[in-house]
Structures are given as structure tokens and as C-alpha cells.
């Protein structure tokens, strides 16, 4: 019957697009549950703790870290679908394919320094609670600083998408979202302060370097997921040539 899942799997001409969109929703939900709920690494604990307190944190979150990040190690790369769908949005725009390809390659790198390295450091910390606390402190710093390891990826990536949207004459995505991309790029400039400051609003758990950034990023993600959905709904189903 038309409209059922089985019908859509067999006949929906937009199936590839919808599968990608649903994968993005599932990915961000699991990402949120793992980072905010299971591992309690978001919002991040403070950078100013001493080694004993950090060792305590690792032992308090032993299973949360090891199971939660295990889940990330299984499904972390499904984010590639989001990058693919965003790159596809740029292929529909009246701009050079260079924009789509640059974005796809830049964001394919993102997971390694910005997410997986964080998880690897914290997993290695959690696996041996009896390790020298000074080394646990090093792994803790390595983990939380790596969260901002994707500064350049989000900075340059957002600008590339933003410019493509502003140049586009096919009206694939709204112009204001192009400007919002530039805003999102700015948060990556502000977050850089966490590499220097160990306390206050510019530390990795600070009001500016974490909370404001997280709000902008969450709104940005919500907005682009909504607009990608509208793009798919509006799309005509002519055979495109790529």
C-alpha cells in the first residue's frame, strides 16, 4: 500500500534521500545519549581538577565510558551520510562541484581528531583505573582538548557551505541559513580559547567556550536537519546526472 514502509522501500523515488535523512536523526540521537547520558562527557567536567579527582572521575564513569564509547566506535562513521547529503545539497546548487567535494573531504576527516581521538584517550584512561594518576590526567586533557580538535574542520567547512548557499541561484537552501553558517564558523574561533584557559568562561567547560557554542551548534544542527528535510520534500524526481 502506498505510504507504508514496505511500499517506500520498493517504490519511493526519494528512498536514497530519506534513508540518509533518517540516518542523520538516528546518529545525532545516539551521539547525544552517549555523550550527555552514558559517559557524562558533555557538559565536560572541569579542567582544574587535580590528579586524584581525575582518577576518581575515571573510576566513577568506568562502564559508562567503556560501553558508551564502544557504541561510538561501532556507529560513529554513519555521520558520513550527513556529509554526503549536505554535499548532495551543494551538487543541486548553481555552484561548482568543488564546493561539494571540498565539504565532503573536509568533514570526512572530522571524526578522527574531533571525536574518535577523544574517545580513544578516555577509553584508555578508563581501562586501567590503577594507572599512575599523572598519566590519567594526561589522558583526561587529551580527551577533552580533542573535542576542539575539529576547529578548522567546522570553521572552513561551514564557510564553504555558507558561500555555496549565498552564491546559489536554484534556491536549494534559504539565504539566511548561509549567513548562519558563517555564525557557526565564528563559534570555532571562540572555542580556541579552551586550549589556553584552564578556568573561567573561556575554559573547555566555560559559559562561552562550551555552553554558548553548544547552543549555537545544537540550533545549527536542528536547522540544517529541518532544511534538508524540506529540500528532499520539494525535490523533483527527474533523473539527475552526476
Amino acid at each position: 500500500m502506498k505510504g507504508t514502509l514496505a511500499w517506500r522501500w520498493r517504490h519511493d523515488p526519494k528512498l536514497e534521500l530519506w534513508l540518509a535523512w533518517v540516518t542523520i536523526i538516528v546518529f545525532y540521537n545516539i551521539f547525544g545519549i552517549v555523550f550527555f547520558g552514558m559517559t557524562r562527557t558533555q557538559p565536560p567536567p572541569p579542567p582544574w581538577w587535580d590528579h586524584a579527582r581525575i582518577a576518581q572521575w575515571f573510576s566513577d564513569h568506568h562502564y559508562g565510558l567503556l560501553i558508551g564509547f564502544g557504541i561510538i566506535f561501532v556507529m560513529g562513521a554513519f555521520a558520513a551520510v550527513a556529509n554526503a547529503l549536505i554535499a548532495y545539497s551543494m551538487r543541486r546548487m548553481s555552484v561548482s562541484p568543488i564546493f561539494a567535494y571540498s565539504y565532503l573531504i573536509i568533514y570526512s576527516l572530522a571524526a578522527v581528531p574531533g571525536m574518535l581521538l577523544t574517545c580513544i584517550a578516555l577509553v584508555v584512561g578508563a581501562m586501567r583505573p590503577d594507572r599512575d594518576p599523572a598519566l590519567l590526567g594526561l589522558l583526561y586533557d587529551m580527551g577533552f582538548l580533542s573535542f576542539s580538535g575539529t576547529m578548522g574542520i567546522f570553521l572552513i567547512g561551514s564557510v564553504i557551505w555558507g558561500i555555496a548557499i549565498l552564491l546559489d541561484k536554484n534556491r536549494v537552501l534559504p539565504k539566511w541559513f548561509g549567513y548562519f553558517n558563517v555564525c557557526n564558523a565564528w563559534t570555532e574561533v571562540v572555542v580556541a580559547t579552551c586550549c589556553i584557559n584552564k578556568s573561567g568562561p573561556f575554559a573547555w567547560n566555560g559559559v562561552i567556550a562550551f555552553y554558548i557554542n553548544m547552543v549555537v551548534f545544537a540550533v545549527y544542527t536542528g536547522v540544517f536537519i529541518t532544511y534538508l528535510k524540506k529540500m528532499i520534500e520539494r525535490e523533483d524526481v527527474l533523473q539527475l546526472s552526476f
Partner: protein, 244 residues
């Protein structure tokens, strides 16, 4: 999807890349056997002193360094093979390039993470006078990165399987069993993600599931995919010769 006038040349190029595979397999196998920590995988239960003694045992040190240098050179040789699979996805009867893009987005990830593990091993082996707890730290980083970093492999197997299921034409690019095989491989590789949970048993980094099942599956996947891609390329070559 346009096929330009130079397709014949492209396919000859693919043929050369495909035949690099058996050569690369021999190099990988030789490095695998040469690294003293692989044939009998190192136990996560080793103390810092034991790990340090293992690295700086004169019988092991040179083998650790040279095998990891060779792995660093040739680990990346998997990428042309993955790019050839991406080209096969591109030929499928899809309406959008999304499956191709998703697959391409995963290609560099696996080899990059393997390079990181490789560097951690080389770092652990760098200075005999270093504090054994630091040697153990880098040994842990190496083994955890090597063992648990399966996300790109899992995702690319699933993407390839879905791409094959969506390739709805009279003569699909790959038979359906290749899709099933990819889903099974993803399932066999995935448990290694949880390796740090335990230092003993099948999930530990030297265990039956995280080490043997995962690595044998990866090796089998590479061989099977090389054969099915090779069959496609030779079929596509024949079709071009008939058309010419």
C-alpha cells in the same frame, strides 16, 4: 552517468590497481608475521615492566620497528581498492550520488586510524630508557586504536550492502550475496569496539572475537571484494571490447 571516450584506458588502469592487491597482501602478511606482538597477540594483562621488557628485548626491537615502518608504507595501499569499490557503486542504478559519497567519506578513515596505531607502536619502541609506565601507555593507545577503531569499516560495509540492495536493474553490479556478506562482516567486526571493557576473554584485545574474528574477517573481506570487483572489471572490459 556519462562514460567518456577514455573509458578503456580507465579500465586498464583499474586492472593494474587491482593486481597490486596480491602483492600488497604478501607485504602485509610478511609485516604481520614479523611483528612479534601479532602472531601470539600481546596480552593486555602484561604489567608495565613486562611491556617495556618486551619492546626492548633485542630479539624484538628491530622486528617491531621494521614491521611497523613497512605497515606505515603499505597500510594505505588499501585505498585504491576501496576507491575501485566506490567506482562500482557509482555505476549502480541509483538516482542520486549519496551512496557513493557516503562510501567515499569512509575510505580514508580506516587507514588513517591504522596509521595512528602504527605511530603509537613506534613511539612505544623509541627510547629504551623511558619510564615503563609511559611505554605501557603508548602500547595501550596502540592496541586500543588498532582493535577498537572499526567505525569506518562497519559503516562502509553497511553502505555497500544498502547500495547493492538499492541497485535495482536487470543486471545488478554485484549479486545480492555480496550485500549479505558485507552485513555479516560488519556484524563480525563490530564487537571489537568494546575491547577495552575487559582484559581477559574473547573481547579483550588479544581475544578470539576482538583479535582473531575481527582480523580474519577483514582479511577475508579484502580478498572477497578484490575477487568480485575483479570479475566486474573484467566483465566491463569485455563489454567495451564488444562495443568497440
Amino acid at each position: 552517468m556519462s562514460s567518456g571516450g577514455s573509458t578503456t584506458t580507465n579500465i586498464s588502469g583499474e586492472w593494474i590497481l587491482l593486481w597490486t592487491m596480491p602483492v600488497v597482501w604478501l607485504i602485509w602478511l610478511a609485516s604481520f608475521v614479523a611483528f612479534p606482538g601479532f602472531v601470539h597477540p600481546m596480552s593486555p594483562r602484561m604489567t608495565a615492566q613486562e611491556v617495556s621488557a618486551f619492546y626492548f628485548n633485542p630479539e624484538n626491537l628491530a622486528r617491531i620497528r621494521y614491521s611497523m615502518i613497512v605497515f606505515n608504507w603499505f597500510g594505505v595501499a588499501l585505498i585504491p581498492m576501496l576507491a575501485m569499490i566506490a567506482m562500482q557503486i557509482r555505476r549502480m542504478a541509483h538516482r542520486t550520488p549519496i551512496m557513493t559519497y557516503s562510501f567515499i567519506g569512509c575510505i580514508a578513515g580506516g587507514p588513517t586510524l591504522f596509521c595512528m596505531a602504527d605511530l603509537f607502536w613506534l613511539l612505544a619502541a623509541f627510547r629504551p630508557e623511558r619510564d615503563p609506565s609511559l611505554v605501557q601507555l603508548f602500547n595501550d593507545l596502540a592496541w586500543v586504536t588498532f582493535t577498537s577503531q572499526v567505525p569506518f569499516l562497519v559503516a562502509q560495509n553497511v553502505f555497500l550492502a544498502v547500495a547493492i540492495y538499492l541497485d535495482r536493474q536487470a543486471r545488478p553490479i554485484f549479486p545480492a550475496w555480496v550485500a549479505h556478506f558485507n552485513l555479516l562482516s560488519a556484524a563480525a567486526i563490530a564487537p571489537a569496539a568494546f575491547t577495552a571493557l575487559t582484559l581477559d576473554g574473547p573481547i579483550a584485545w588479544d581475544g578470539a572475537v576482538s583479535y582473531w574474528l575481527k582480523n580474519i574477517t577483514i582479511a577475508l573481506w579484502i580478498v572477497v571484494m578484490t575477487v568480485v570487483v575483479g570479475r566486474n572489471i573484467s566483465r566491463q572490459r569485455r563489454e567495451l571490447e564488444v562495443a568497440a
